[in-house]
Amino acid sequence: MRRMTWFNVTSLTLGFAFLYLPMLILIIFSFNESKLVTVWAGFSTKWYGEVLRNTAFLDAAWVTIKVAFLSSCLATILGTMAAIVMVRAGRFRGRTVLSGMIYAPMVMPEVITGLSLLLLFISLGMDRGVFTIVLAHTTFAMCYVSVVVSSRLVSFDQSLEEAALDLGCSPVQAFRLVTLPIIAPAVISGWLLAFTLSLDDLVIASFTSGPSATTLPMKIWSSVRLGVSPEINALSTIMILVVAIGVITASLINKRNVVRQRREEAAAEKLA
């Protein structure tokens, strides 16, 4: 391997510092003994204990997880259905407009999405709470799922499904037994994407929630407005940890599959 030049080393260091220094400072200060956020007074884990005893935080965390789980499941179902129609239906009148409309919410400013959903819920006379946040999150997450799943479906050999029909499957069985298992990785990563998007959304949740439901990002945001506390640092560190574990696990699983497939294909080549 080639040695890195001083230029490469410097740009790498600067880049990573830019990305991770803020988080690093946050993590370091979450172990601060002092109640003052910016003054170091020795190592302590007491703020973690405080977080776990703070029922307001725990309630908010529970609401967030509930919302993220429900909305990502709904978004995955709707997004996968949309992707299948878009990839399979072939050409029909208004196809371009329709597919554009599915992806438009991705570039729509969140404030506008949030506001329009709020107006809709008010005009329908719906009580705002967990349910409305779930609906709102489903709305904006489904287009991300749809993008992920349709990119997999484009390379999906249509004759696999025809073969299933030919061998006696009903269209529903063909989807369940052949299509779904093959596109499952894309569906799962779509679900994960929807889950994390919902987990850290602040703007849309603020617009569409009511007094009965506060998500964790909302709770953090409102506490920070009263001043940053070491407790918030500890809470954020926990969130970083959870997300990091999730991402690393997903990529490890993915990598292991790729490596195994390569090895098996190489073995088959040799055999042939």
């Binding site: 004759s159 696999l160 029909l165 030919d166 061998l167 006696g168 088959a268 042939a272």
Partner: protein, 374 residues
Amino acid sequence: MALDVFAPWDDPNAKPLIQFQNVTKRFGDFTAIDDLTVDIFEKEFFALLGPSGCGKTTMMRMLAGFETPTEGQILLAGQDIGAVPPNKRAVNMMFQSYALFPHLSIWENIAFGLKRDKMPKDQIGERVEEMLRLTRLEKFARRKPHQISGGQRQRVALARSLAKAPKLLLLDEPLGALDKKLRQETQFELMDIQETTGTTFVIVTHDQEEAMTVASRVAVMDHGQIVQVSTPDVIYEAPNSTYVADFIGDVNLISGKADPQDDKLHMHWAEGQPAVVGSPLDGAAKGQDVHYAIRPEKVSISAEKPENAANTIQGEVHDIAYLGNISTYHVKLAGGQIIKAQSANNRRISRRAFTWEDKVWLSWTDTAGVFLER
């Protein structure tokens, strides 16, 4: 005749397994199949042969149930199957891409169709083992499709489509992905399996050699129509049009004016060249435009003018294509036309009789070629 020849298409009492009755299929403005009528009989190995876009794949997809005819009827054992969905037909298909399920093992791939029929578990096991034996895949049962070679995948696809013992098996360019040697071996394997199982096979191919090798009858297609349907030898020796003659194998085509004399037909085709003499063409009047087709291997090449040949013509060797077992001589006539003549290389190359720019005589009998109207 004492010999029991398999030829149900000549028997007026034979009941066809499949009947296309005036079938037309349009995709928007494009007519893929144009008023097509044909019968396919039980236990036949029927080949649909034609260039890409001739409608052969559409015909097959209509048999499988993935397309429905715009007009006309398709009957399977006397029943109209136009409205029957693919999963309710006693027809199975082997796909060009093989379409093996990548997430299932070879064993599970073959068992897939049987499980849909709610067959008891032990019977499924027996049937799968039988199919694995038939296609010599016993060792690979536990592997996934990406863990075996291309030739093995092809056999899995065949085993899977045969497992349900369909009345009719459709094969869509089944050997297209294999290299030449493997393809030839597999052609004979296919014929053996077809004979053992007694299933009716319909094969789609653009490879004329493949169609000739495996099929009991060949249908040559062009622009959504069947131009000729017959046994391979008739297709080759008695094509009904220049299209068929040209599509199957190598051929010399000459056009000219008809001149019936006694029981022979003469054709004048070039100033200063003798007329071509051959067996008559029904209804050919004097002066009518006709075509003459003759295969290169039926044209003899010699240094001296042969005695007693019905057709003789002089030319100069223009090009020699050496193919190992045979050589094709391109002989240029006085008018600039090229006639191809083939001879078997039963001598080593160093002792070859002719070389470039040699004056040679071409000759053939009056039954060697055929006159064609179109």
